[in-house]
Symmetry: C2
Subunit: 219 residues, 2 copies
Amino acid sequence: MYSQAEENYLKTIYTLEKEFGNEVSTNLIAGKIKTKASSVTDMLKKLANKELVVYKKYQGVYLTETGRLTALKVIRKHRLWESFLVQKLQFNWHEVHDIAEQLEHVKSEALIDKLDAFLKFPKLDPHGDPIPDAHGRTILNKTVTIKEMKIGSAGVFVGVRDSSASFLKYLNKKNLALGDKIKVIDIEPFDSSYHIETKTHRLVITSNVAENLCLKNVK
Amino acid sequence: MYSQAEENYLKTIYTLEKEFGNEVSTNLIAGKIKTKASSVTDMLKKLANKELVVYKKYQGVYLTETGRLTALKVIRKHRLWESFLVQKLQFNWHEVHDIAEQLEHVKSEALIDKLDAFLKFPKLDPHGDPIPDAHGRTILNKTVTIKEMKIGSAGVFVGVRDSSASFLKYLNKKNLALGDKIKVIDIEPFDSSYHIETKTHRLVITSNVAENLCLKNVK
DNA sequence: TTTAAAATTTAGGCAACTCTAAAATATTAT
DNA sequence: ATAATATTTTAGAGTTGCCTAAATTTTAAA
Protein backbone atom coordinates (compact mmCIF):
# COMPACT_ATOMS: atom_id res chain seq x y z
CA MET A 1 0.00 0.00 0.00
CA TYR A 2 1.19 3.46 -0.78
CA SER A 3 0.98 6.55 1.42
CA GLN A 4 -1.31 9.46 0.68
CA ALA A 5 1.67 11.57 -0.26
CA GLU A 6 2.92 8.95 -2.69
CA GLU A 7 -0.51 8.59 -4.24
CA ASN A 8 -0.77 12.33 -4.68
CA TYR A 9 2.57 12.52 -6.42
CA LEU A 10 1.66 9.70 -8.79
CA LYS A 11 -1.66 11.29 -9.65
CA THR A 12 0.02 14.64 -10.23
CA ILE A 13 2.72 13.17 -12.44
CA TYR A 14 0.06 11.33 -14.43
CA THR A 15 -1.96 14.45 -15.15
CA LEU A 16 1.15 16.50 -15.95
CA GLU A 17 2.34 13.84 -18.38
CA LYS A 18 -1.03 14.07 -20.13
CA GLU A 19 -0.90 17.84 -20.25
CA PHE A 20 2.74 18.49 -21.12
CA GLY A 21 3.97 15.21 -22.59
CA ASN A 22 6.35 12.75 -20.97
CA GLU A 23 9.31 13.69 -18.76
CA VAL A 24 7.78 15.89 -16.11
CA SER A 25 10.07 18.41 -14.38
CA THR A 26 10.58 18.85 -10.66
CA ASN A 27 9.38 22.43 -10.69
CA LEU A 28 6.19 21.57 -12.55
CA ILE A 29 5.28 19.06 -9.89
CA ALA A 30 6.22 21.45 -7.09
CA GLY A 31 3.98 24.10 -8.62
CA LYS A 32 1.05 21.74 -8.96
CA ILE A 33 1.07 20.39 -5.43
CA LYS A 34 2.40 23.52 -3.76
CA THR A 35 5.53 22.15 -2.21
CA LYS A 36 9.16 23.12 -2.64
CA ALA A 37 11.29 21.63 -5.37
CA SER A 38 13.55 20.00 -2.80
CA SER A 39 10.65 18.09 -1.31
CA VAL A 40 9.74 16.88 -4.76
CA THR A 41 13.27 15.62 -5.33
CA ASP A 42 13.11 13.63 -2.09
CA MET A 43 9.86 12.00 -3.07
CA LEU A 44 10.97 11.25 -6.62
CA LYS A 45 13.87 9.25 -5.26
CA LYS A 46 11.51 7.29 -3.07
CA LEU A 47 9.12 6.60 -5.94
CA ALA A 48 12.03 5.59 -8.16
CA ASN A 49 13.21 3.11 -5.51
CA LYS A 50 9.79 1.54 -5.54
CA GLU A 51 9.90 1.47 -9.33
CA LEU A 52 6.82 3.62 -9.72
CA VAL A 53 8.67 6.23 -11.76
CA VAL A 54 11.82 6.44 -13.83
CA TYR A 55 13.92 9.28 -12.52
CA LYS A 56 17.25 10.63 -13.68
CA LYS A 57 18.78 13.52 -11.82
CA TYR A 58 18.09 16.86 -13.46
CA GLN A 59 16.12 15.11 -16.23
CA GLY A 60 12.62 14.89 -14.83
CA VAL A 61 10.49 11.76 -14.33
CA TYR A 62 7.95 9.60 -16.05
CA LEU A 63 5.71 6.85 -14.71
CA THR A 64 6.47 3.15 -15.06
CA GLU A 65 3.59 0.84 -15.96
CA THR A 66 3.04 0.10 -12.28
CA GLY A 67 3.14 3.80 -11.51
CA ARG A 68 0.64 4.61 -14.21
CA LEU A 69 -1.77 1.91 -13.08
CA THR A 70 -1.50 3.07 -9.47
CA ALA A 71 -2.18 6.66 -10.55
CA LEU A 72 -5.20 5.54 -12.56
CA LYS A 73 -6.61 3.69 -9.59
CA VAL A 74 -6.41 6.84 -7.50
CA ILE A 75 -8.02 8.85 -10.28
CA ARG A 76 -10.74 6.21 -10.56
CA LYS A 77 -11.50 6.59 -6.88
CA HIS A 78 -11.45 10.37 -7.06
CA ARG A 79 -13.90 10.49 -9.93
CA LEU A 80 -16.23 7.87 -8.51
CA TRP A 81 -16.42 9.78 -5.24
CA GLU A 82 -17.07 13.01 -7.11
CA SER A 83 -19.89 11.32 -8.96
CA PHE A 84 -21.32 10.08 -5.68
CA LEU A 85 -21.14 13.51 -4.10
CA VAL A 86 -22.95 15.17 -6.99
CA GLN A 87 -25.46 12.49 -7.89
CA LYS A 88 -26.38 11.18 -4.48
CA LEU A 89 -25.53 13.90 -1.98
CA GLN A 90 -26.66 16.84 -4.12
CA PHE A 91 -23.41 18.73 -4.03
CA ASN A 92 -22.70 21.21 -6.78
CA TRP A 93 -19.92 19.97 -8.98
CA HIS A 94 -17.63 22.84 -8.10
CA GLU A 95 -17.76 21.95 -4.40
CA VAL A 96 -16.67 18.35 -4.59
CA HIS A 97 -13.00 18.45 -5.46
CA ASP A 98 -11.50 18.97 -2.00
CA ILE A 99 -13.69 16.30 -0.45
CA ALA A 100 -12.90 13.78 -3.18
CA GLU A 101 -9.24 14.62 -2.65
CA GLN A 102 -9.58 13.07 0.81
CA LEU A 103 -11.92 10.22 -0.07
CA GLU A 104 -9.65 9.01 -2.87
CA HIS A 105 -7.13 7.76 -0.31
CA VAL A 106 -9.48 5.44 1.56
CA LYS A 107 -8.12 1.92 1.18
CA SER A 108 -10.58 -0.79 0.22
CA GLU A 109 -11.04 -2.52 -3.09
CA ALA A 110 -14.46 -3.77 -2.01
CA LEU A 111 -15.57 -0.25 -1.17
CA ILE A 112 -14.74 1.20 -4.54
CA ASP A 113 -16.26 -1.74 -6.41
CA LYS A 114 -19.49 -1.44 -4.49
CA LEU A 115 -19.54 2.31 -4.91
CA ASP A 116 -19.09 1.81 -8.64
CA ALA A 117 -22.05 -0.58 -8.72
CA PHE A 118 -24.17 1.73 -6.56
CA LEU A 119 -23.59 4.52 -9.09
CA LYS A 120 -24.41 2.09 -11.94
CA PHE A 121 -20.90 2.02 -13.36
CA PRO A 122 -20.67 5.61 -14.61
CA LYS A 123 -18.25 6.25 -17.45
CA LEU A 124 -17.82 9.99 -16.90
CA ASP A 125 -17.53 12.04 -13.75
CA PRO A 126 -19.48 15.27 -13.09
CA HIS A 127 -16.82 17.30 -14.89
CA GLY A 128 -17.13 15.08 -17.95
CA ASP A 129 -13.78 13.36 -17.33
CA PRO A 130 -13.66 9.63 -18.01
CA ILE A 131 -13.64 7.25 -15.03
CA PRO A 132 -11.04 4.48 -15.41
CA ASP A 133 -12.26 0.94 -14.71
CA ALA A 134 -10.48 -1.36 -12.25
CA HIS A 135 -7.82 -2.05 -14.91
CA GLY A 136 -7.22 1.60 -15.66
CA ARG A 137 -9.10 1.58 -18.94
CA THR A 138 -11.35 4.46 -19.96
CA ILE A 139 -13.87 4.91 -22.73
CA LEU A 140 -12.96 7.02 -25.67
CA ASN A 141 -14.27 10.33 -24.61
CA LYS A 142 -15.13 11.99 -27.86
CA THR A 143 -16.62 15.32 -26.98
CA VAL A 144 -17.38 18.36 -29.07
CA THR A 145 -17.60 21.95 -27.93
CA ILE A 146 -20.68 23.98 -28.77
CA LYS A 147 -18.42 26.15 -30.90
CA GLU A 148 -17.94 23.15 -33.21
CA MET A 149 -21.65 22.42 -33.59
CA LYS A 150 -24.09 23.32 -36.33
CA ILE A 151 -27.51 24.90 -36.03
CA GLY A 152 -30.09 22.27 -35.16
CA SER A 153 -27.67 19.76 -33.65
CA ALA A 154 -27.94 18.63 -30.05
CA GLY A 155 -25.97 16.63 -27.50
CA VAL A 156 -25.50 15.88 -23.84
CA PHE A 157 -23.55 18.34 -21.75
CA VAL A 158 -20.77 16.28 -20.17
CA GLY A 159 -17.94 18.60 -19.28
CA VAL A 160 -16.09 21.87 -19.42
CA ARG A 161 -12.73 22.97 -20.75
CA ASP A 162 -12.41 25.74 -18.19
CA SER A 163 -13.15 24.38 -14.75
CA SER A 164 -12.42 27.57 -12.82
CA ALA A 165 -14.74 28.23 -9.92
CA SER A 166 -16.00 31.40 -11.58
CA PHE A 167 -16.99 29.60 -14.75
CA LEU A 168 -18.70 26.83 -12.81
CA LYS A 169 -20.63 29.44 -10.88
CA TYR A 170 -21.68 31.11 -14.11
CA LEU A 171 -23.08 27.78 -15.30
CA ASN A 172 -25.00 27.32 -12.09
CA LYS A 173 -26.47 30.77 -12.39
CA LYS A 174 -27.53 30.04 -15.95
CA ASN A 175 -29.01 26.71 -14.86
CA LEU A 176 -26.76 24.61 -17.01
CA ALA A 177 -25.95 21.29 -15.38
CA LEU A 178 -24.10 18.15 -16.38
CA GLY A 179 -26.33 15.70 -18.14
CA ASP A 180 -28.54 18.39 -19.65
CA LYS A 181 -29.48 17.93 -23.28
CA ILE A 182 -28.51 21.07 -25.15
CA LYS A 183 -29.60 22.03 -28.66
CA VAL A 184 -28.14 24.77 -30.81
CA ILE A 185 -31.06 26.90 -32.05
CA ASP A 186 -29.23 29.64 -33.86
CA ILE A 187 -25.81 31.16 -34.35
CA GLU A 188 -25.61 34.93 -34.66
CA PRO A 189 -23.02 35.64 -37.38
CA PHE A 190 -22.46 39.20 -36.21
CA ASP A 191 -20.88 38.35 -32.81
CA SER A 192 -20.95 34.53 -33.11
CA SER A 193 -23.09 34.22 -30.03
CA TYR A 194 -25.10 31.01 -29.67
CA HIS A 195 -28.80 30.61 -29.00
CA ILE A 196 -29.17 27.34 -27.15
CA GLU A 197 -32.02 25.43 -25.63
CA THR A 198 -32.29 22.99 -22.75
CA LYS A 199 -35.27 20.99 -21.60
CA THR A 200 -36.33 23.87 -19.37
CA HIS A 201 -35.21 27.12 -20.98
CA ARG A 202 -33.46 28.98 -23.76
CA LEU A 203 -30.52 31.32 -23.49
CA VAL A 204 -27.79 33.13 -25.37
CA ILE A 205 -24.16 32.42 -24.69
CA THR A 206 -21.07 34.14 -25.98
CA SER A 207 -18.63 32.42 -28.29
CA ASN A 208 -16.24 32.40 -25.37
CA VAL A 209 -18.61 30.28 -23.33
CA ALA A 210 -19.46 28.12 -26.34
CA GLU A 211 -15.90 26.88 -26.69
CA ASN A 212 -15.82 25.81 -23.05
CA LEU A 213 -18.88 23.58 -23.02
CA CYS A 214 -18.28 19.97 -24.05
CA LEU A 215 -21.07 17.79 -25.40
CA LYS A 216 -21.28 14.10 -26.12
CA ASN A 217 -23.45 12.14 -28.57
CA VAL A 218 -23.85 15.16 -30.77
CA LYS A 219 -26.22 14.65 -33.70
CA MET B 1 -8.46 20.74 12.83
CA TYR B 2 -7.12 17.70 14.58
CA SER B 3 -4.93 14.96 13.14
CA GLN B 4 -6.17 11.44 12.58
CA ALA B 5 -4.07 10.21 15.47
CA GLU B 6 -5.53 12.83 17.79
CA GLU B 7 -9.06 11.99 16.71
CA ASN B 8 -8.43 8.30 17.33
CA TYR B 9 -7.16 8.95 20.83
CA LEU B 10 -10.16 11.11 21.67
CA LYS B 11 -12.57 8.52 20.38
CA THR B 12 -10.79 5.79 22.31
CA ILE B 13 -10.76 7.77 25.53
CA TYR B 14 -14.45 8.50 25.10
CA THR B 15 -15.42 4.86 24.73
CA LEU B 16 -13.15 3.76 27.58
CA GLU B 17 -14.68 6.41 29.86
CA LYS B 18 -18.10 4.98 29.04
CA GLU B 19 -16.97 1.44 29.66
CA PHE B 20 -14.80 1.85 32.76
CA GLY B 21 -15.85 5.18 34.24
CA ASN B 22 -13.87 8.39 34.24
CA GLU B 23 -10.09 8.62 34.63
CA VAL B 24 -8.80 6.35 31.89
CA SER B 25 -5.34 4.84 32.37
CA THR B 26 -2.43 4.95 29.95
CA ASN B 27 -2.25 1.20 29.64
CA LEU B 28 -5.94 0.86 28.89
CA ILE B 29 -5.58 3.24 25.98
CA ALA B 30 -2.41 1.53 24.78
CA GLY B 31 -4.19 -1.81 24.81
CA LYS B 32 -7.17 -0.50 22.88
CA ILE B 33 -5.25 1.17 20.06
CA LYS B 34 -2.31 -1.25 20.05
CA THR B 35 0.48 1.17 20.72
CA LYS B 36 3.00 1.32 23.51
CA ALA B 37 2.30 3.09 26.77
CA SER B 38 5.11 5.56 26.09
CA SER B 39 3.46 6.63 22.84
CA VAL B 40 0.24 7.18 24.71
CA THR B 41 1.98 9.37 27.26
CA ASP B 42 3.39 11.51 24.46
CA MET B 43 -0.02 11.98 22.93
CA LEU B 44 -1.77 12.69 26.22
CA LYS B 45 0.58 15.59 26.81
CA LYS B 46 -0.24 16.95 23.40
CA LEU B 47 -3.98 16.61 23.94
CA ALA B 48 -3.69 18.21 27.38
CA ASN B 49 -1.87 21.20 25.84
CA LYS B 50 -4.76 21.62 23.45
CA GLU B 51 -7.17 21.36 26.37
CA LEU B 52 -8.94 18.35 24.96
CA VAL B 53 -8.19 16.23 28.01
CA VAL B 54 -7.26 16.76 31.64
CA TYR B 55 -4.12 14.83 32.33
CA LYS B 56 -2.13 14.43 35.54
CA LYS B 57 1.02 12.36 35.51
CA TYR B 58 0.44 8.80 36.68
CA GLN B 59 -3.24 9.58 37.30
CA GLY B 60 -4.86 8.89 33.94
CA VAL B 61 -6.95 11.26 31.80
CA TYR B 62 -10.47 12.36 31.20
CA LEU B 63 -12.00 14.43 28.40
CA THR B 64 -12.79 18.13 28.67
CA GLU B 65 -16.07 19.35 27.23
CA THR B 66 -14.30 20.27 24.01
CA GLY B 67 -12.64 16.87 23.94
CA ARG B 68 -15.91 15.06 24.47
CA LEU B 69 -17.66 17.00 21.73
CA THR B 70 -14.80 16.36 19.34
CA ALA B 71 -14.90 12.65 20.15
CA LEU B 72 -18.65 12.57 19.60
CA LYS B 73 -18.27 14.21 16.22
CA VAL B 74 -15.84 11.51 15.16
CA ILE B 75 -18.17 8.81 16.46
CA ARG B 76 -21.04 10.46 14.60
CA LYS B 77 -19.09 10.26 11.38
CA HIS B 78 -18.03 6.69 12.00
CA ARG B 79 -21.58 5.52 12.60
CA LEU B 80 -23.07 7.45 9.71
CA TRP B 81 -20.51 5.96 7.34
CA GLU B 82 -21.21 2.48 8.72
CA SER B 83 -24.90 3.04 8.08
CA PHE B 84 -24.14 4.14 4.55
CA LEU B 85 -21.97 1.13 3.86
CA VAL B 86 -24.60 -1.31 5.06
CA GLN B 87 -27.75 0.37 3.82
CA LYS B 88 -26.58 1.72 0.49
CA LEU B 89 -23.55 -0.32 -0.53
CA GLN B 90 -24.85 -3.70 0.70
CA PHE B 91 -21.94 -4.49 2.96
CA ASN B 92 -22.48 -6.93 5.79
CA TRP B 93 -22.30 -5.17 9.10
CA HIS B 94 -19.25 -7.10 10.24
CA GLU B 95 -17.25 -5.88 7.25
CA VAL B 96 -17.69 -2.16 7.68
CA HIS B 97 -15.66 -1.25 10.72
CA ASP B 98 -12.22 -0.91 9.14
CA ILE B 99 -13.55 1.13 6.25
CA ALA B 100 -15.52 3.46 8.53
CA GLU B 101 -12.35 3.82 10.58
CA GLN B 102 -10.82 5.56 7.57
CA LEU B 103 -13.88 7.47 6.40
CA GLU B 104 -14.47 8.98 9.84
CA HIS B 105 -11.42 11.21 9.39
CA VAL B 106 -12.55 12.91 6.20
CA LYS B 107 -12.89 16.61 6.95
CA SER B 108 -16.06 18.32 5.76
CA GLU B 109 -19.05 19.47 7.77
CA ALA B 110 -21.12 19.73 4.61
CA LEU B 111 -20.30 16.17 3.66
CA ILE B 112 -21.46 14.66 6.91
CA ASP B 113 -24.61 16.78 7.00
CA LYS B 114 -25.56 15.73 3.49
CA LEU B 115 -24.73 12.11 4.21
CA ASP B 116 -26.98 12.30 7.27
CA ALA B 117 -29.82 13.68 5.13
CA PHE B 118 -29.21 11.08 2.40
CA LEU B 119 -29.62 8.34 5.00
CA LYS B 120 -32.76 10.06 6.34
CA PHE B 121 -31.23 11.03 9.67
CA PRO B 122 -30.81 7.58 11.19
CA LYS B 123 -30.77 7.38 14.98
CA LEU B 124 -28.99 4.03 15.27
CA ASP B 125 -26.13 2.51 13.32
CA PRO B 126 -26.09 -1.04 11.93
CA HIS B 127 -24.77 -2.35 15.25
CA GLY B 128 -27.64 -0.69 17.11
CA ASP B 129 -25.42 2.01 18.61
CA PRO B 130 -26.90 5.51 18.75
CA ILE B 131 -25.66 8.09 16.23
CA PRO B 132 -24.92 11.47 17.87
CA ASP B 133 -26.39 14.52 16.13
CA ALA B 134 -24.24 17.52 15.15
CA HIS B 135 -24.32 18.69 18.78
CA GLY B 136 -23.28 15.33 20.19
CA ARG B 137 -26.72 14.41 21.43
CA THR B 138 -28.09 10.89 21.10
CA ILE B 139 -31.50 9.38 21.63
CA LEU B 140 -32.13 7.30 24.68
CA ASN B 141 -31.38 3.89 23.40
CA LYS B 142 -33.55 1.68 25.54
CA THR B 143 -33.02 -1.83 24.35
CA VAL B 144 -33.93 -5.18 25.80
CA THR B 145 -32.22 -8.51 25.25
CA ILE B 146 -34.28 -11.49 24.18
CA LYS B 147 -33.41 -13.05 27.50
CA GLU B 148 -35.50 -10.35 29.17
CA MET B 149 -38.57 -10.90 27.00
CA LYS B 150 -41.76 -12.85 27.62
CA ILE B 151 -43.45 -15.38 25.40
CA GLY B 152 -45.51 -13.63 22.77
CA SER B 153 -43.64 -10.34 22.86
CA ALA B 154 -41.86 -8.96 19.80
CA GLY B 155 -39.47 -6.14 18.90
CA VAL B 156 -37.03 -4.85 16.32
CA PHE B 157 -33.54 -6.30 16.31
CA VAL B 158 -31.24 -3.28 16.64
CA GLY B 159 -27.96 -4.48 18.07
CA VAL B 160 -25.73 -6.98 19.77
CA ARG B 161 -23.91 -7.09 23.08
CA ASP B 162 -21.15 -9.30 21.72
CA SER B 163 -19.88 -7.86 18.46
CA SER B 164 -17.09 -10.40 17.87
CA ALA B 165 -16.65 -11.45 14.26
CA SER B 166 -17.60 -15.02 15.09
CA PHE B 167 -20.91 -14.00 16.64
CA LEU B 168 -21.72 -11.72 13.74
CA LYS B 169 -20.99 -14.57 11.36
CA TYR B 170 -23.29 -16.83 13.33
CA LEU B 171 -26.08 -14.28 12.91
CA ASN B 172 -25.51 -14.10 9.19
CA LYS B 173 -25.62 -17.85 8.91
CA LYS B 174 -28.88 -17.91 10.83
CA ASN B 175 -30.25 -15.15 8.65
CA LEU B 176 -30.75 -12.68 11.46
CA ALA B 177 -30.18 -9.11 10.33
CA LEU B 178 -30.53 -5.69 11.88
CA GLY B 179 -33.98 -4.30 11.47
CA ASP B 180 -35.65 -7.70 11.52
CA LYS B 181 -38.78 -7.98 13.60
CA ILE B 182 -38.33 -10.84 16.05
CA LYS B 183 -41.04 -12.50 18.11
CA VAL B 184 -40.56 -14.88 21.03
CA ILE B 185 -42.73 -17.95 20.36
CA ASP B 186 -41.75 -20.14 23.25
CA ILE B 187 -39.19 -20.55 25.99
CA GLU B 188 -38.05 -24.05 26.85
CA PRO B 189 -37.76 -24.18 30.65
CA PHE B 190 -35.47 -27.23 30.59
CA ASP B 191 -32.47 -25.52 28.93
CA SER B 192 -33.93 -22.02 28.62
CA SER B 193 -33.54 -22.04 24.85
CA TYR B 194 -35.71 -19.62 22.90
CA HIS B 195 -37.97 -20.35 19.96
CA ILE B 196 -38.11 -17.18 17.93
CA GLU B 197 -39.72 -16.13 14.70
CA THR B 198 -38.82 -13.58 12.04
CA LYS B 199 -40.78 -12.52 9.00
CA THR B 200 -39.20 -15.33 6.99
CA HIS B 201 -38.40 -18.18 9.33
CA ARG B 202 -38.38 -19.72 12.81
CA LEU B 203 -35.42 -20.95 14.78
CA VAL B 204 -34.17 -21.98 18.18
CA ILE B 205 -31.40 -20.06 19.90
CA THR B 206 -29.55 -20.85 23.09
CA SER B 207 -29.88 -18.73 26.20
CA ASN B 208 -26.33 -17.60 25.53
CA VAL B 209 -27.33 -16.12 22.17
CA ALA B 210 -30.56 -14.72 23.63
CA GLU B 211 -28.70 -12.45 26.02
CA ASN B 212 -26.63 -11.01 23.21
CA LEU B 213 -29.45 -9.89 20.93
CA CYS B 214 -30.82 -6.43 21.66
CA LEU B 215 -34.31 -5.41 20.59
CA LYS B 216 -36.08 -2.09 20.54
CA ASN B 217 -39.80 -1.22 20.74
CA VAL B 218 -40.56 -4.45 22.53
CA LYS B 219 -44.27 -5.05 23.14
C1' DT C 1 5.93 -0.22 56.55
C1' DT C 2 9.09 -1.81 53.75
C1' DT C 3 9.56 -4.27 49.49
C1' DA C 4 8.46 -6.42 45.17
C1' DA C 5 5.72 -5.93 41.14
C1' DA C 6 3.15 -3.26 37.98
C1' DA C 7 2.23 0.93 35.69
C1' DT C 8 3.83 5.10 33.84
C1' DT C 9 7.05 8.48 32.28
C1' DT C 10 11.50 10.10 30.41
C1' DA C 11 15.31 9.91 27.28
C1' DG C 12 16.98 9.03 23.02
C1' DG C 13 16.07 7.49 18.43
C1' DC C 14 13.73 6.36 13.84
C1' DA C 15 10.75 7.07 9.55
C1' DA C 16 7.91 9.95 6.67
C1' DC C 17 7.45 14.32 4.84
C1' DT C 18 8.33 18.92 4.84
C1' DC C 19 11.38 23.20 4.80
C1' DT C 20 15.53 26.76 3.99
C1' DA C 21 19.96 27.73 2.37
C1' DA C 22 23.81 26.43 -0.19
C1' DA C 23 25.89 23.79 -3.92
C1' DA C 24 25.65 21.64 -8.41
C1' DT C 25 23.96 21.32 -13.03
C1' DA C 26 21.47 22.92 -17.10
C1' DT C 27 19.82 26.51 -20.14
C1' DT C 28 19.92 30.94 -22.43
C1' DA C 29 21.66 34.98 -24.16
C1' DT C 30 25.39 37.52 -25.59
C1' DA D 1 32.07 29.73 -25.91
C1' DT D 2 31.24 31.73 -21.89
C1' DA D 3 28.71 34.27 -18.56
C1' DA D 4 24.40 34.97 -16.38
C1' DT D 5 20.21 32.92 -15.03
C1' DA D 6 17.17 29.35 -13.95
C1' DT D 7 16.52 24.76 -12.36
C1' DT D 8 17.52 21.01 -9.52
C1' DT D 9 19.85 18.61 -5.88
C1' DT D 10 22.16 18.16 -1.38
C1' DA D 11 22.78 19.15 3.44
C1' DG D 12 20.90 19.99 7.59
C1' DA D 13 17.01 20.60 10.33
C1' DG D 14 11.87 20.59 12.20
C1' DT D 15 7.36 18.11 13.13
C1' DT D 16 4.40 14.22 14.03
C1' DG D 17 3.89 9.92 15.82
C1' DC D 18 5.86 5.87 16.85
C1' DC D 19 9.50 2.76 19.24
C1' DT D 20 12.95 0.61 23.04
C1' DA D 21 15.27 0.84 27.25
C1' DA D 22 15.93 2.93 31.51
C1' DA D 23 14.17 5.58 35.34
C1' DT D 24 10.41 6.89 38.26
C1' DT D 25 6.11 6.47 40.69
C1' DT D 26 2.22 3.86 42.29
C1' DT D 27 0.16 -0.31 44.10
C1' DA D 28 -0.15 -4.50 46.38
C1' DA D 29 1.88 -7.91 49.31
C1' DA D 30 4.41 -9.66 52.92
